[in-house]
Amino acid sequence: MSDATTPELDDIKDARDVNITKLDYARAILKDKVTLVAVLFLAALVIFTAGANFLAPHPPTGLNFLDSLLPPLSRGANGEFYLLGTDELGRDMFSRLIYGARVSVSVGVIGALVSGIVGVFTGLTAGYKGGLYEDIVMRLVDGMLSLPSLLVALFVLFVLGGGFVNLILVFSILHWMVFARLSRGLALEARSSTYVKAAKALGATDMRIIFYHILPNVIPPILVLLTLEIATLILSEASLSFLGFGVQPPDPSWGLMIADGREHIRSAWWLVAFPGIAIFLTALSLNLVANWLRAVTDPVQRWRWFAKG
């Protein structure tokens, strides 16, 4: 995405002068084929997740022992078509992947949002207020970041028991620090800027300055981090569920599907391969979109994306 050549100063000035509309963002996405594919994949994922009840060709828990362990692209005893094959209980893999997306994606998105809100709030206030409060917050952040998060997550889930809600709780506790560290840096930077000084001079309260003036200005980097965190959490959910400490059966999650398929790995590779590919494509798309977001929201780089012609 980045390039060795730095843009001429005039270009930067022009790009800043241009009023960038939503249409321009759409155009910039269309120009970048790889990102476009990633966005389309994520859009399809969201549609399938939301419309699982209508879009899944088979019920995810429909047992059919006549059709157990059928390879991809095969037909069942009653002529049903199984795009990605069936598992040992004769359940359609494609439908289970769609329902699994529901669990995996929502754990990732909700977990990232909750930890993002907590982290951005503590980070912005710490960076803006400074003093002892900042010291305590940042020491906590440093300390918690130095712990092995997967291990702590494993232990907490061992004590609390697995499941959807506990997973989100654990992710929120263990991931807010990255947002806090970023937001604190951004708030530190904003604190000495002219617009904050102006707002202060006009008598705005601290909270108003932080959330009404600073927050809108620091959204882009936070959005990039949020996208990356969703990918991280989807991977973590898969790992924890694989080990048996995350989502509990019969809820289908991608990680759990890999764990279930492991028994049959010698004879039925598709049970393990497809959920892993689903996780991989989702995480890859999120990473690509994050890279793109970083490039187009960076004032020094974005002239390239919005250059006309």
């Binding site: 440093d142 918690m144 130095s146 702590v152 232990f155 990918a231 790995i265 393990v272 890859l284």
Partner: protein
């Protein structure tokens, strides 16, 4: 120096809080005596243990005793390690110090992490430099895609796929276990995928940044061979972010090993943690978490210090929070 002491104290505090948290949370999962002996134990054995281990004392007394033990290297004993059923009612006969059990597993985990890192560091740096030296070329695109793939893949899934391909289908390598060189190849490659991607990404952007600086123009103008310009001049000055990333990845390797060890039945600390959790073997859980947390915290501390040593423009304590 004050900064170093402050960071060490901070890390010790974090470890202390972690150990305390694990101790207290461990009491929430049920009767510790039952957990320590397993559901197959007789009431007599459980009562004897309660008496002998002081589990009838107030929680605070037990906690102080536990912390005191740790300070003298005594993390308690496991009665169940290595047994599926309790072999004897005579508890002192089967008690094994948990710290010994954990320490015995450390070399296997270190060997795995070391093997993964010795693949990831040269390969990641080579990929990153190649991409940086030829921006927007086919090589650059391939490296970008591969490094993104490395960080997007689920490690344990990659491990399973490698097993299917190289162990089950081709039969070249063992599916898992611990032994000679052939046993370490698949787990090490699995564990290396993510650090290869991260190191390549960081190397690429750091070297690109260096290559745009005036001293590179000078070196090229003097007729220094391009290979030397890239690998000697630019890479050397780009080393700080690369070393930081390698350190970050080292601590990620230690915990990432939990999953990879599980997939490949590699007898390291990670597999020990999973096994002790699934058996609710409380003393072993406490000790293994304490040891791994101490390792990771130490690695993070060393990375932080080395980063500051490498970069003379960052004064110790100046940017520390």
């Amino acid at each position: 120096m004050a900064y170093v002491i402050k960071r060490i104290c901070n890390s010790l505090l974090i470890l202390f809080i972690t150990i305390s948290f694990v101790f207290i949370a461990g009491r929430l999962i049920g009767d510790p005596a039952l957990n320590m002996l397993g559901s197959g134990a007789s009431d007599l054995a459980i009562n004897n243990l309660r008496e002998a281990a002081g589990l009838n004392d107030p929680l605070f007394v037990q906690y102080v005793r536990y912390i005191g033990g740790i300070l003298t290297g005594d993390f308690g004993v496991s009665y169940r390690y290595g047994y599926s059923v309790l072999p004897s009612e005579n508890l002192s006969e089967i008690a094994q110090p948990v710290l010994d059990i954990v320490l015995e597993r450390i070399p296997a985990t270190f060997a795995l992490a070391g093997a993964a890192l010795s693949v990831a560091v040269p390969l990641g740096i080579f990929m990153g430099v190649t991409a940086a030296a030829n921006p927007r070329s086919a090589a650059d695109r391939i490296v970008t895609v591969l490094s993104l793939a490395g960080v997007s893949v689920v490690q344990f899934w990659l491990g399973l796929m490698l097993i299917v391909l190289f162990a089950v289908q081709l039969g070249w390598l063992p599916t898992g276990g611990y032994g000679g060189f052939s046993y370490v190849i698949l787990p090490a490659l699995t564990l290396a995928a993510r650090p290869i991607g991260r190191i390549a990404q960081v190397t690429r952007s750091a070297v690109i940044q260096e290559l745009s600086k005036p001293y590179i123009v000078t070196a090229r103008a003097k007729g220094v061979p391009e290979f030397k310009v890239v690998y000697v001049h630019a890479l050397k000055n780009a080393s700080i972010p690369i070393v930081t990333m390698i350190g970050d990845e080292l601590s990620a390797l230690l915990t990432g090993a939990i999953l990879v060890e599980k997939v490949f039945a590699w007898p390291g600390v990670g597999l020990l943690i999973i096994d002790s959790l699934s058996r609710s073997d409380l003393p072993l859980i406490q000790a293994s978490i304490a040891v791994v947390a101490a390792l990771v915290v130490t690695v993070n501390l060393l990375v932080d210090f080395s980063y500051r040593l490498l970069n003379p423009s960052i004064r110790l304590g100046h940017t520390g929070a």
